[in-house]
Amino acid sequence: MSTSMSTSDGALRTPWRPRWLAVVGIGAVVTAALTVWLGLWVTPPDEVQGNLARLLYIHPAVATVALYWAGGVALLGSLLYLWPRTRSFFWDRLAAAAVEVGAVFSALTLVTGSLWGRPVWGVWWTWDARLTSTALLLLLELGYLALRRVPADAHIRAKRCAVAAILIAIDVPIVHFSVDWWNTLHQSGTVLDPGFNLHVHGSMLWTMLLSFLAFTLIFVWLLAMRYRIEVLQDAVGDQELEVSLSERWNEDAELVGVGGGSGAPGGDEGGGS
């Protein structure tokens, strides 16, 4: 039984500091800082919602990352792992990284949405279709992460997780269209309506677009970091397995030596394990 995850251990020992990731990180910090500045101090208050509209420069961008970026990468990675021609642990690790980052952003979506809902709707939470399907998304992502911790052969674990990621992806269009399919307290599209007409204009629009860019860059940075951890975890796991196997073989060899080849127990098991 092979559990090798084919990691290049030599490359793993060298410090991992790609230049593009530094550029993404700096870009994320700068655009996030600009979003905060524009969102809190530069843009005017909304005619209806007043200052509470400033939360809309944050919440839709966070939700976009949770739903479309994380969900999309997880689905793509899982499908490419399941497809025999493209099967590689790269795709499995990428999907796992995307689901964990997605879970964090799903939680942030629910909390920021709740902070907006309390003063506008008068409640922290309601069993509205959009909110409920988003909470379900978070639960599915947590389930995926739990499934990933269940001990199993690497390929079996990757297949199970790929199927779980597809289940997560099924919920994404449900979240997206929930405001159109059901009568919800949650408003429909914040930036665009179903007819692709803009709802937001001027400095409010630019601030919102900047926040989408900021959280997209934050997502890319987090995804790369989480992917790196997945590679390291697999490499450490592989090495632990090799050490365990070699220790077992040494024990068996010693037993065979002590028994003088007189059918010492475990002699056959060592070769088969």
Binding site: I58, T112, M225
Partner: protein, 50 residues
């Protein structure tokens, strides 16, 4: 603190804290791998119990 301030703190602060946790986790796994790969001679000395 207003709801707006709280929302910005949660979103930006939450992303930052998660990023920090990933950075620390990455360092821990890199250290674990380097300790595992090093030969017994290269491993850092551990104080022996009396």
């Amino acid at each position: 603190m207003s709801y707006v301030d709280a929302g910005y703190i949660v979103a930006i602060g939450g992303s930052f804290l998660y990023g920090l946790s990933l950075f620390l986790r990455r360092r821990r796994w890199e250290r674990a791998l380097s300790v595992q790969e090093s030969t017994p001679d290269e491993r850092p000395a551990v104080a022996e119990c009396p």
